[in-house]
């Protein structure tokens, strides 16, 4: 089985760098593909449809999506994604700095798989990375039948 791919959509290179470091520390089985904006994310996903470019633009197994970005927001990307038949069931994990209950409710109603608040501190980030790895493996195993509940932010943040 080839390495799983997670498309990370985040305008903050700091956050991406920390995420990458956390992945290295935890030694996960997936590869991170960074894009810096909602437009870039949609452009990448559009490109994956082109069979000629399949090798350069592999379809991701999961999307890590920030909400607040200049230009198209995470909500816009999520709405677009769920409107595409081939991406309608793609796991989307929201990783945002927003703690607002409204944002959480809106993201989940638009079809987000998980809603996670960006933790402060390296430890919390490592726990998140482990959870993502676990989620990917669950998805990869056919007929596992178990759906993972969103881990509580408090638990992850510890």
């Amino acid at each position: 089985m080839s390495e799983a791919i997670i498309l990370s959509v985040d305008d903050s290179s700091d956050d991406f760098t920390l995420l990458k470091l956390a992945c290295e520390a935890v030694n996960v089985s997936f590869q991170l593909l960074p894009v810096q904006s909602g437009e870039a994310a949609i452009a990448y996903l559009e490109s994956t449809r082109d069979s000629l470019s399949q090798g350069h633009f592999p379809v991701p197994d999961m999307i890590l999506l920030d909400l607040k970005m200049p230009g198209k927001s995470g909500f816009d990307v999520l709405t677009w994604l769920r409107a595409q038949p081939e991406f309608a069931r793609l796991p989307v994990v929201i990783l945002t700095s927003s703690t607002h209950a409204e944002d959480r409710a809106r993201a989940l109603s638009l079809g987000a798989t998980w809603f996670l608040v960006k933790p402060i501190g390296y430890g919390g980030l490592q726990r998140i990375v482990r959870s993502l790895d676990q989620l990917l493996q669950t998805k990869a195993a056919p007929d596992s039948g178990t759906s993972l509940d969103t881990p509580s932010s408090a638990e992850l943040a510890r």
Partner: protein
């Protein structure tokens, strides 16, 4: 004057004295009746005498009283009139008081008699045979005059006497001319007599002069009356015009103030309308401002937290991956950098939460206090284990009227404080209970912490109010402010009972659930 006359006149005088008004005396009515009786007696004697004198018929009742001859008929008539007048003193026939009429008649007879005596004309004082020694004596006439005036004055506040001392044109007229007829008679008699006695003047001239004088005086009296009435009329017209002028002026003034009032009312309505519009505009503006502030806050949350996260994250990466190549000072610095960034992030979050509490909607519903306490203790389970804390819920917990998120925040902050502010090496012991407080439930959280001196017990609910350095007891200094604001927004209040060394009992009150709700 014959003795009979004197007796009758004395009787009349006594009667008049008896009927004088003196309503305060208890015996007044008795006196009045006695006076009336005496007057009736005098009138009867006068009447008998009159009948005898004029018609020669003696009714028989006066014999014993006739001591020295018959009284002359004017005296008898006067006695009759005065007697009746006194007897009828309180009788009124429509507008006329008979006693006054009788008094005036007597007065005229007396005056006539006196004038007759002055000019030596016996007919005038009642001589039926033109003899001077016959008829009424001048003393009798004088007494009759006095008694008649007395009778008029006995009730001076009514009828003719009231007219006489009133300020109406009638009163003026009466005062000026009431004695005129007597004066005229006196003057005319004098002129007539002079002319009679002057031998050079023809007798016819006397009659002509008499008539001419009468004519002149009568005409003069009419003109004098006319003059008085005319002047009174003019004065009345003048007064009427003045009054009308006043009415016109007052009406104009009233209209003017009415118009001013109306204008003021319209102004007020206009200003009021303008104010309402201004308030509406300001309210709309305020709502827009709040919305834009919320957006700003949201952006601040996002943008401020990103660097906090980066600082803390990279510091921890260094601590985790390069711990071996760094000395202890460098590691301590890095730990401090990470802690500071985390503190900054906590402050940002708490301030945002506090700010949102000011205006965010907190819809309330029926909430199970027990369920929320369980949820919060579960959330804080790690801290409870780490501090070896024990939490005890004492007694049943009610349902309260609250916003679930806000209630959980309040419980979290209070329990976190209870676990935090402890003397060194003391495991926290927390007791939670609820008691009714009027239309509210009071929820009390008792700890065994360091306690709070009384002078700081209000201060601690303020934003950024800390009693200890953050190094000794970490925290943002906003937790209790959030508790207070949340509870107040849900219609309750908060407080603390504490003394240093004896722990603290923080409490908050929430409304009972409305009965009408399921």
């Amino acid at each position: 004057m014959v003795p009979n006359t004197a007796v009758v006149l004395c009787c009349l005088a006594v009667a008049l004295w008896l009927v004088l008004p003196n309503p305060t005396a208890r015996s007044f009515i008795v006196r009045f009746r006695a006076g009336q009786a005496l007057a009736m007696l005098s009138a009867a004697l006068g009447f008998a005498t009159l009948v005898h004198e004029l018609f020669g018929w003696n009714p028989g009742m006066d014999f014993n009283l006739y001591l020295g001859g018959h009284p002359p008929f004017p005296a008898a008539l006067g006695a009759l009139a005065l007697g009746l007048g006194i007897a009828l003193l309180e009788i009124r026939v429509r507008e006329v008081w008979p006693s006054e009429v009788l008094a005036v008649i007597t007065l005229q007879m007396a005056l006539l008699g006196i004038i007759g005596h002055i000019f030596g004309v016996p007919e005038l004082y009642g001589s039926l045979n033109f003899q001077a020694d016959n008829g009424m004596a001048i003393q009798t006439a004088a007494v009759l005059l006095i008694l008649a005036v007395g009778l008029l004055a006995a009730r001076a506040d009514r009828g003719l006497m009231a007219i006489l001392h009133s300020h109406t044109p009638g009163g003026t007229l009466a005062r000026r001319w009431v004695l005129l007829p007597a004066a005229v008679l006196l003057v005319m008699g004098l002129v007539y007599l002079l002319l009679q006695r002057a031998p050079a003047v023809p007798r016819a001239l006397g009659s002509w002069t008499l008539l001419m004088t009468s004519f002149t005086f009568l005409t003069a009296a009419v003109w004098a009356t006319a003059h008085v009435l005319h002047r009174a009329g003019l004065e009345r017209d003048q007064a009427h015009r003045t009054l009308e002028q006043h009415v016109v002026e007052r009406t104009a003034a009233l209209n003017e103030s009415n118009e001013a009032l109306q204008a003021a009312k319209e102004d007020l309505a206009r200003v009021n309308h303008g104010l309402e519009r201004t308030i509406h505009e300001r309210t709309v503006h305020l709502h827009e401002t709040i919305r834009s502030l919320e957006t700003v806050c949201y952006n601040i949350a996002h943008d401020l937290r990103a660097p906090n996260r980066a600082i803390a994250g990279f510091a921890e990466v260094l601590l985790a991956r390069y711990a071996e190549s760094l000395d202890e000072t460098a590691l301590d610095c890095l730990r401090r950098v990470a802690a500071a960034a985390q503190h900054s992030d906590a402050l940002t979050l708490d301030l945002l939460a506090y700010g949102r509490l000011g205006h965010a909607d907190l819809p309330c519903s029926k909430q199970s206090l027990a369920a929320h306490i369980e949820a919060v203790t579960e959330k804080l389970a790690h801290d409870f284990v780490a501090t070896s804390a024990s939490v005890e819920v004492s007694g049943p917990l009610p349902a309260v009227w609250a916003n679930p998120t806000a209630l959980e925040q309040v419980l979290t902050n209070l329990l976190t404080n209870a676990l935090k502010f402890l003397p060194p090496a003391t495991p926290p012991r927390v007791t939670i209970r609820a008691e009714p407080a009027g239309s509210c439930w009071r929820i009390l959280i008792q700890d065994n912490g360091i306690g709070i001196p009384p002078e700081y017990q209000q201060k601690i609910f303020g934003v950024f109010q800390r009693l200890h350095s953050p190094e000794r007891y970490p925290g943002t200094g906003i937790g209790l402010a959030i508790v207070q604001k949340s509870v107040e927004r849900m219609g309750g209040k908060v407080g603390v009972n504490s003394s240093p060394g004896n722990g603290s009992c923080f409490w908050f009150e929430l409304l009972n659930c409305p009965d009408t709700l399921p």
